[in-house]
């Protein structure tokens, strides 16, 4: 990986302190991290470890209070304004008054694409998430898994190179989640996007990622960064291999080390 020329996210000494009525809360502390183009990076850790906050800082939904962060060599604000990333939230957050098709065209309308271009993009992205044929359904007529796929299609529709996903499958059952994980990997291989993926599931993180960032709370910080040795082609049963289990064990150790501070 040639990190100097194709760095997507680069954080140095990044910190964020929320001022609350109970006094300041250190949500992120001294995070140094570089994410290269085409990587699939998972952020894992218990709640309060700052993994979602870090994603929100990349997305310019939170402002850091210390350190610096650059997205494609720009400030997060400039990156957001240039529509550098697509963001998938914990819930699908589809607009119930719009059909699936019109939900996917929402970012395209805001960005001022022509009707024809919108049509073409919707067709392509709905194909990508296997939702062809559901264009005219309303979100509440679809299952939770389909809704989340539609929200991924919406994030993909404007072709940003960076995809930020905040526990997108957290609310879904395990079978649906396995299926969507497989589809997400397939999609990543086909589009060569950079993906930052927040999760609290160890198997999910190991199965999906090229790199796993282990975080721990109070203050939120990075305790370990694990390079995955798994091949790019990953059938679901790779999760039974010793290699997979070894990485999972390392992630678990990292999480435990983070926890030992409190008790």
């Amino acid at each position: 990986m040639t990190k100097s020329t194709s760095t997507v996210v680069s954080a140095r000494g990044l910190g964020l302190t929320f001022e609350t009525s109970d006094g300041p809360v250190r949500a992120l502390s001294d995070v140094d991290l570089t994410i290269g183009k085409g990587e699939f990076v998972s952020f894992i850790g218990p709640s309060g470890c700052g993994k979602t906050t870090f994603l929100r800082v990349i997305a310019d939904l939170e402002k850091p209070t210390d350190g610096t962060i650059e997205i494609n060599g720009m400030t997060p604000e400039k990156a957001r304004e240039s529509r550098a990333y697509g963001y998938v939230f914990q819930a699908a957050a589809l607009f119930p008054w719009r059909t699936i098709e019109r939900n996917v065209t929402l970012p395209l309308e805001i960005m001022g694409l022509s009707r024809a271009a919108q049509k073409e993009r919707v067709k392509r992205t709905l194909e990508l998430v296997n939702l062809t044929g559901f264009e005219n359904k309303y979100p509440w007529q679809l299952s939770g898994g389909m809704q989340q796929r539609a929200s991924i299609a919406r994030a993909l529709a404007f072709d940003a190179d960076l995809l930020l996903m905040d526990e997108p499958f957290g609310a879904l059952d395990e079978i649906v989640r396995d299926h969507l994980n497989e589809q997400l990997l397939e999609l990543w291989r086909r589009t060569n996007k950079t993906i930052c993926f927040v999760t609290h599931s160890i198997p999910e993180a190991v199965y999906l990622s090229t790199r796993i960032v282990v975080m721990s709370p109070r203050p939120g910080r990075v305790t370990d960064v694990i390079e995955s040795t798994l091949p790019k082609e990953r059938p679901l049963d790779i999760r039974e291999t010793p290699e997979f289990l070894a990485i999972a064990a390392r992630v678990r150790d990292g999480l435990r080390a983070g926890h030992s501070y409190e008790d």
């Binding site: 957001r80 304004e81 697509g86 963001y87 939230f89 957050a93 929402l106 509440w140």
Partner: protein, 373 residues
């Protein structure tokens, strides 16, 4: 009793019938009713009791029950002609019996489970319709049977007759009060409330300064400004529309301001990730999310506008308008005309409300309260 399969309504109707038979005749006065009519009424009520028996209901038996009970009620009301104010206890016993059988009809209807969509619609409409009709039947029969003075409460038939004979006058009043005063005020007040809500949302200065004053103003008895409006805009409809503007402004302001905060954090963050402008977020997210609140204000305002326009006419006004008519006709003891205006106002108000409710259903079809779940 249970062996006969009689409901308690039918049983009570039977007891009332027997009691009425011992208390004949129906009226104290001459000419009273013919023997044939009296027999016919008894026969219809007994037939209805028979039709109401049993537990498995078919549409035909429900229809026969309905037809016999209501024919009996119709004969009872017809028998009143020339006998006003002389009805005896036996008359009211028979009236109560028909009412109980109509009750039975409604309760049987509400247990029917029609298979077709038309059948379901029919049952859904028939039940409230029967309910309303019976309010009129009892009103008519009791007021005329007991001889209540027309100044206290005229019977519905007199009010209906007054409506039919006064159509041009009613049309002029509706035009003045509803189409000129209420509708103009409703549109101006609602739009102004809506625009000020957006202004308050956009500019912090307005939000901090105007909204507390708005809340205070909405607590004022606004109808009190009606005489002031007359000094500002003259006695004709603009001053009434002014009252309606003041009345409808605040519900729309408060509801829209609340509605604009109804969209979720996640949805607003989503718009932010698209670098969406204030106006884009407003039109694509916040206003659609606020629609249920805005429609709520439109519905509240539809009744407020009518009340405001009518009551404002109790003060200085030209010689046309529903409020003017009600206050002057009551003064002339022509109570039926006042009731005619009230009936027309109720009808117009229901239509007004219904149209808005229909638009709401079409616009906010996505909201859980409308799609049902």
């Amino acid at each position: 009793m249970t062996r006969l399969g009689l409901s308690w309504q039918a049983l009570a109707a039977l007891v009332l019938c027997i009691g009425a038979a011992f208390g004949l005749p129906l009226f104290d006065s001459q000419p009273g009713t013919s023997v044939a009519t009296t027999v016919e009424i008894f026969a219809l009520i007994l037939a209805a009791i028979v039709f109401s028996a049993g537990s498995g209901f078919r549409p035909t038996s429900v229809f026969l029950l309905f037809a016999s009970a209501h024919s009996a009620a119709w004969l009872l009301i017809s028998a009143l002609a020339g006998n006003e104010g002389t009805a005896r206890l036996s008359y009211f016993a028979l009236l109560a019996a028909t009412w109980l059988l109509a009750w039975r009809t409604v309760s049987v209807l509400s247990h029917l489970r029609p298979v077709t969509a038309q059948g379901r619609t029919f049952v859904r409409l028939a039940i409230p319709l029967l309910f309303g009709v019976w309010i009129l039947i009892l009103w008519e029969a009791i007021v005329r049977g007991a001889g209540v003075s027309a100044i206290i409460l005229p019977p519905p038939s007199a009010i209906a007759a007054r409506i039919v004979t006064s159509l041009p006058m009613l049309a002029a009043d509706v035009n003045q009060t509803i189409f000129k005063s209420a509708l103009t005020g409703y549109i101006i007040g609602g739009s102004a409330g809506f625009l000020v809500a957006i202004l308050a949302d956009r500019i912090a200065f307005f939000r901090r300064g105007l909204l507390p004053i708005g809340n205070m103003m909405s607590a004022l008895p606004i109808i009190g400004v009606a005489p002031i409006m007359v000094t500002w805009f003259g006695p004709d409809w603009p001053s009434k529309a002014g009252v309606v503007v003041v009345m409808t402004f605040f519900p729309m302001l408060v509801n829209t301001v609340t509605g604009l905060t109804a969209s979720g954090h996640m949805e607003r963050d989503l718009m932010r990730t698209y670098a969406s402008s204030y106006w884009q977020t407003l039109f694509k997210l916040r206003l659609p999310a606020a629609a249920p609140f805005i429609f709520n204000a439109l519905k509240i305002n539809s009744t407020l506008a009518l009340i405001g326009a009518i009551v404002a006419e109790f003060f200085t006004t030209p010689v046309v308008g529903m409020g003017f008519r009600i206050s002057t006709e009551i003064g002339l003891l022509r109570v039926d005309m006042a009731w005619a205006e009230i009936a027309v106002a109720a009808l117009a108000g229901s239509v007004f409300y219904g149209v808005i409710a229909l638009i709401e259903r079409a616009t906010t079809f996505w909201h859980p309260s409308i799609r049902g779940g």
